[in-house]
């Protein structure tokens, strides 16, 4: 064990690799945070679409979800990596490609969380809202969604953990996240054991910490279940 390699490259690994401040447009968090936010916004439409009464909306949304849940994320990243340049006529930076791929891919999973959240609101709530004279859209916006969001929070935190770990796959197209940063340092220093153990510890601390948090939230929102 030679921990000097970690100390010497600490700033590069953490600031550049994990947070994304530095010379490269990189960073694990700089990819994961926008991906979950935009993925969730898209996921709301997909989740609502799956529950729509019109088949013209619900069937395509179901196909979207089932398609992306049946394909490996690595494959989806490659799709965007090769297809975007053909569509827009020039190659985009790794960051845009990775972010687009993650938003589109995660939206399928987040859409299912939104759907489950909406379905967890008791039917009586919808009926009561409509009985008071609200339209269906108003009932959804003022009554159902606020309650559904509350129920979704633990699942959203869990999904963010999955996403945070999955962002390591952006390194395959050259995006400089924590994993790629460790690879770059390793190419120079040849200290794979120390470096990969170190990034494993960083991922572990974030992921484990958040999973404890998700668990505590779940218990607070739903005391009788846990």
């Amino acid at each position: 064990m030679e921990l000097r390699v970690i100390a010497d490259n600490f700033a590069f690994l953490i600031l550049q690799g994990f947070f994304g401040f530095g010379a490269f447009a990189g960073g694990t968090l700089r990819l994961a945070v926008p991906a979950i936010v935009f993925g969730f916004l898209l996921g709301i439409f997909i989740g609502l679409g799956r529950l729509a009464r019109s088949r013209w909306i619900s069937v395509p949304m179901t196909i979207y979800v089932e398609f992306f849940r049946g394909v490996p994320l690595v494959m989806v990243i490659f799709w965007f990596w090769f297809i975007i340049p053909v569509l827009v006529g020039k190659s985009l930076p790794e960051y845009s490609v990775a972010l687009t791929a993650f938003v589109v891919f995660e939206a399928a999973y987040l859409g299912e969380i939104v759907r489950a959240g909406i379905q967890s609101v008791p039917r009586g709530q919808v009926e009561a809202a409509i009985a008071t004279g609200l339209t269906r859209a108003q009932a959804m916006r003022h009554v159902i969604l606020p309650q559904a969001f509350r129920n979704m929070i633990p699942a959203l935190v869990t999904q963010f953990i999955v996403l945070l770990k999955d962002t390591s796959l952006a390194s395959i197209i050259g995006y400089v996240d924590l994993t790629k940063a460790a690879q770059i340092v390793n190419n120079r220093e040849i200290r794979p054991f120390e470096l990969y153990l170190f990034i494993a510890a960083v991922y572990w601390a974030c992921s484990y910490g958040m999973s404890r948090y998700a668990h505590a939230l779940e218990r607070r929102l739903n005391p009788q279940a846990a």
Binding site: F67, G70, V71, F78, L87, G89, P192
Partner: protein, 241 residues
Amino acid sequence: MSYTFNWSVLWTGQAGGWLLDGLITTIEISFLAWWLAVTLGILSGALRTVPLAPLRWAAAAYVEFFRNVPLLVWMFFGYFAVPPLLPDAVREWLFEHGAEFWAALCALGVYHGARFSEVIRAGIQAIPTTQFEAAVSTGLTVAQAYRLIILPIALRLIIPPATNESLNLLKNSSVALTIGVAELTFQTRQIETYTAKAFEALAAGTVIYLLLCLTIATVMARVERRFAIPGMIAQGAVGEN
């Protein structure tokens, strides 16, 4: 958009053979890793529910250790960091016999073992504790009660989430391309590199993955109906990361 499709790249030249090789490697690595993962999962999942605290802690440590770090990092760890620690003879043997395959297999197995463990624990916890008490009161030891009563019921309860997790394992086998295992996604990229036909190559790989997942899901839905226990469904940590 100026792109001319040429689907024939998939069956002229070597591409078809590459896809087939890739498919076989994907199935091979997924199948072997699945056995490793299920074995580790059943063992650690069962241990997490036994009435002996140190065993529970050991199993929990295994699960939390492996599932909170990205699979890609475990693959790098297994391929780049572990071999230098092995004795020279073992290392040489490994690099002559496809070290990347074995590293990917172990990483996939232990990572998904930790995830299977949660599924199996949820299944065991869905069984009323009176089953266990009744089994022990008939004179069975704890080990016998698990082997003969608890696990057979739990395994029948968890077929839907276990299928889901098995499909995740299959899809995650694509991560092995990062350490050079020539599986399906790797071969898809290779076709793209040689023919510059990205659409066709990626579409072929995607369709193969979708068909694989669909086939497994259909078969398992039948298995599930066949083995369903009336009145019982598994609940709990199904969607856990």
